[in-house]
C-alpha cells in the first residue's frame, strides 16, 4: 500500500493536475488561434485563416526597433549581472568574513523590493543627478533586479564543487586568476549559462522598472503596453505574442534539459 496516496487519490490528483495545466496553457493556445484569424478583432466566430498579422508585424519597423532595443538592453544586463554575480558568489562561497549574513541579505534584497518602489527610487535618483533616461538607465535598473537571480543560480553550484580542486591548483602555483579561469570557470559554466539566460529573459520582459526610466527609444514590453491601447494594432501584437511565447517556451525547456544533461555529465 502506498502510504502517501491511494489509487483513487492519485487518479483524482492527476485529473486535477491536467485541468490546471490546461488552464495555464489555454490562454496561450487561444492567442495562437486568433493570431491566424482574419478579423481585426479577436472574437468568435472565427472568420478565416490568414498570415497577414505575422506579415504586418515583420514589416512594422517600430516593433522591430523595440525588439532590437530590448535585445540590446537584455544583452548588456545579462553580461553585467552575471559578472557582478560571479564576483559576489565567489566571495560568498570561498571567503570567510564577518559581515557575510548582512552582505548576502543585501545582495538578495532586490528580490523582494516592490518594483513600483524601486522604479520611482531610480526615477528620483536620475532626476537628481541630472541623468537623462535611456538605454543606460534601464540597464542599471535591470542589473540590480537580476543580480540576485544570478547569485541564486551560481552559489549552489559553487558550493557543490570540490574546493580541493582549486586548492590543488593554487598549491601547484597557479595564481588566483589562473585557478579561477582554468579550474573553477569551466566547472561552473553550465550555471553561468543558466544565470545568463535568466538575466536575459528577465530583462527582455521587464516592464515595471523600465517604465519609470525609459527614454525615447522604447523596449519591447513598453511598446507592447502602449500598443494595447490601439485596437488596430492588436492583431499584430497577438502575432508577436505568439512568436515570443513559443520561442521562450522552447528556450526554457531546451535550457533546462541541457542543464540537467550537462550537470549529470559533470557529476560522473
Amino acid at each position: 500500500m502506498d502510504v502517501a496516496l491511494s489509487k483513487n487519490g492519485a487518479r483524482v490528483l492527476r485529473a486535477f493536475f491536467v485541468l490546471v495545466v490546461v488552464f495555464l496553457y489555454a490562454p496561450i493556445v487561444i492567442l495562437l488561434i486568433f493570431s491566424f484569424n482574419k478579423s481585426q478583432v479577436p472574437a468568435f466566430p472565427l472568420s478565416g485563416f490568414t498570415f497577414q498579422w505575422y506579415r504586418d508585424f515583420f514589416e512594422n519597423s517600430d516593433l522591430r526597433g523595440a525588439l532590437e532595443t530590448s535585445a540590446i538592453v537584455a544583452s548588456l544586463t545579462s553580461v553585467g549581472a552575471v559578472l557582478l554575480g560571479i564576483l559576489a558568489s565567489i566571495a560568498l562561497t570561498r571567503r570567510q568574513f564577518r559581515a557575510k549574513p548582512l552582505v548576502s541579505a543585501l545582495l538578495l534584497s532586490p528580490l523582494v523590493i516592490p518594483y513600483v518602489v524601486f522604479g520611482i527610487s531610480l526615477l528620483l535618483l536620475f532626476h537628481t543627478l541630472g541623468i537623462g533616461n535611456g538605454i543606460p538607465t534601464v540597464f542599471i535598473g535591470h542589473t540590480v533586479i537580476t543580480l540576485p537571480y544570478t547569485i541564486l543560480v551560481l552559489v549552489p553550484r559553487l558550493e557543490q564543487l570540490d574546493i580541493a580542486l582549486e586548492e590543488a591548483a593554487f598549491d601547484l602555483g597557479a595564481g588566483r586568476l589562473r585557478t579561477f579561469l582554468l579550474i573553477t570557470l569551466p566547472l561552473i559554466l553550465p550555471a553561468i549559462l543558466s544565470a545568463f539566460l535568466i538575466a536575459f529573459t528577465t530583462s527582455f520582459d521587464e516592464y515595471a522598472v523600465a517604465s519609470f526610466v525609459i527614454g525615447t527609444r522604447v523596449t519591447f514590453p513598453i511598446y507592447l503596453y502602449s500598443a494595447l491601447r490601439f485596437p488596430s494594432e492588436l492583431p499584430q501584437v497577438i502575432a508577436v505574442a505568439v512568436v515570443v511565447l513559443v520561442v521562450s517556451l522552447i528556450v526554457i525547456v531546451g535550457a533546462e534539459v541541457g542543464r540537467r544533461v550537462a550537470e549529470r555529465r559533470f557529476a560522473d
Binding site: 500500500m1 502510504v3 502517501a4 496516496l5 492519485a10 490528483l13 486535477f16 493536475f17 490546471v20 495555464l24 496553457y25 490562454p27 496561450i28 487561444i30 492567442l31 486568433f34 472574437a43 468568435f44 557582478l84 564576483l87 559576489a88 565567489i90 566571495a91 571567503r95 570567510q96 552582505v103 543585501l106 545582495l107 532586490p110 523582494v112 523590493i113 516592490p114 518594483y115 513600483v116 518602489v117 524601486f118 520611482i120 527610487s121 531610480l122 526615477l123 535618483l125 532626476h127 542589473t143 540590480v144 541564486l152 549552489p156 598549491d171 588566483r176 520582459d205 515595471a208 519609470f212 507592447l224 503596453y225 494595447l228 515570443v244 511565447l245 521562450s248 517556451l249 526554457i252 540537467r260
Partner: protein
C-alpha cells in the same frame, strides 16, 4: 613550495574586498541610495522644488489622515491575501501529486507546470485582456452559441477586481507550486511508513506528519506571491479599471503626469517598502531562497 596554511588562507582572504567591491558599490549607488532619496523626500529633507524645507513628519501625517490611502492599502492587502491563499490551496495538491505519487516523470511535469511562469508576464496579461473583454473571446463565444444576446455581454469579466485577481492568480500559480514541491520532496517517506505501521490512516498521516512538515514550504509559497502582488500596478492598470485600482497604481499616479505629488508618493512608497521589509524579516526563516533555487 612549502606555503603554510596561514599564508594560503591570507592570500585567499586578501581578495574579499576586491570581489565584493563592485557588486556592493553597484547596489549601494543604484539600489540603496535611490531608496534613501525616497525616504528623505518623504520627510521633506530633500525635494526637487526650490524653497525652504527641513525634516518634518507633515507629509506622513497628511497622507495618513487622508482615509483614501489607507483604505486603498487595505483593499490591496485583501486582494493579495485572497489571491495568495487561493493559489496556495490550488498549488498544494499539484505539488503533492508531483512529489509523492511516485510518478516517474515528475521533473518533466514540474517543468510543464512552471514553464508558463518563465514566459512573458505582459503577454500573459494581454492574453486575458483578449479573452475577457466585452467583445472578447468568452463573450463573443457566448453570443455565437446563443447563450447570451450580443446586447448583454458579461461585462464584469474585464476591468474589475475579479479580473485583477484572476490574472494575478494565473500568473503566480505555477511559481507557488515550486516551494511546496521542494518541501514535500525532501520529506522523509519512512516517517509516513512509520505512521502507517503504527495504525494511522492516510488522512491521519497527512494531518499529523505531511502537512506540518510542509508548512515551511506553504509559508514560503504564500510570501512569494503576497509580497510582489501587494505592490502590483501593471496588471491592475491593464485589466483592473476603476474597481481593480490598487495601492501600486496610486503611487505611480502620484509620480506621473497630471497632478504629480512626489512627496505623498514617496510616503506611500516608503510605507509599502517598510511593510514588505518587515514581512521579509519576520518570515525570513521560511524564505530560504536556496531551498527554492535547487528545485
Amino acid at each position: 613550495m612549502g606555503r603554510g596554511e596561514g599564508v594560503l588562507r591570507r592570500r585567499f582572504n586578501l581578495t574579499t574586498p576586491s570581489l565584493l567591491g563592485l557588486p556592493l558599490a553597484w547596489l549601494g549607488v543604484f539600489f540603496l541610495l535611490p531608496i534613501a532619496f525616497v525616504a528623505l523626500y518623504s520627510f521633506d529633507v530633500y525635494t526637487l522644488y526650490p524653497g525652504a524645507h527641513g525634516f518634518t513628519l507633515a507629509g506622513w501625517r497628511a497622507t495618513f489622515h487622508e482615509p483614501i490611502y489607507l483604505r486603498l492599502f487595505w483593499k490591496s492587502v485583501k486582494m493579495s491575501l485572497t489571491v495568495s491563499a487561493i493559489i496556495v490551496l490550488l498549488a498544494y495538491p499539484l505539488a503533492y501529486y508531483l512529489a509523492l505519487s511516485g510518478t516517474k516523470r515528475k521533473y518533466i511535469l514540474l517543468l510543464l507546470l512552471i514553464a508558463p511562469f518563465l514566459t512573458s508576464y505582459l503577454l500573459r496579461v494581454l492574453a486575458w485582456k483578449v479573452i475577457l473583454g466585452d467583445q472578447g473571446v468568452i463573450n463573443t463565444f457566448l453570443f455565437w452559441t446563443g447563450v447570451r444576446s450580443p446586447g448583454h455581454p458579461l461585462s464584469q469579466l474585464l476591468y474589475s477586481r475579479f479580473a485583477v485577481m484572476l490574472v494575478l492568480g494565473y500568473i503566480w500559480l505555477p511559481f507557488v507550486a515550486l516551494p511546496i514541491f521542494v518541501s514535500l520532496e525532501s520529506l522523509d517517506r519512512s516517517l509516513l511508513e512509520a505512521a502507517s505501521d503504527l495504525g494511522a490512516s492516510r488522512l491521519q498521516a497527512f494531518r499529523r506528519v505531511t502537512l506540518p512538515l510542509s508548512l515551511p514550504g506553504i509559508f514560503a509559497a504564500f510570501l512569494f506571491v503576497f509580497i510582489p502582488t501587494l505592490g502590483e500596478f501593471v496588471t491592475p492598470s491593464l485589466v483592473g479599471g476603476a474597481s481593480g485600482y490598487m495601492y501600486g497604481n496610486q503611487i505611480v499616479d502620484l509620480f506621473g503626469t497630471g497632478f504629480p505629488d512626489w512627496e505623498t508618493g514617496s510616503v506611500l512608497a516608503l510605507f509599502l517598502l517598510v511593510v514588505v521589509a518587515v514581512l521579509t524579516i519576520v518570515f525570513s526563516r521560511f524564505l530560504q531562497p536556496r531551498q527554492v533555487a535547487s528545485g
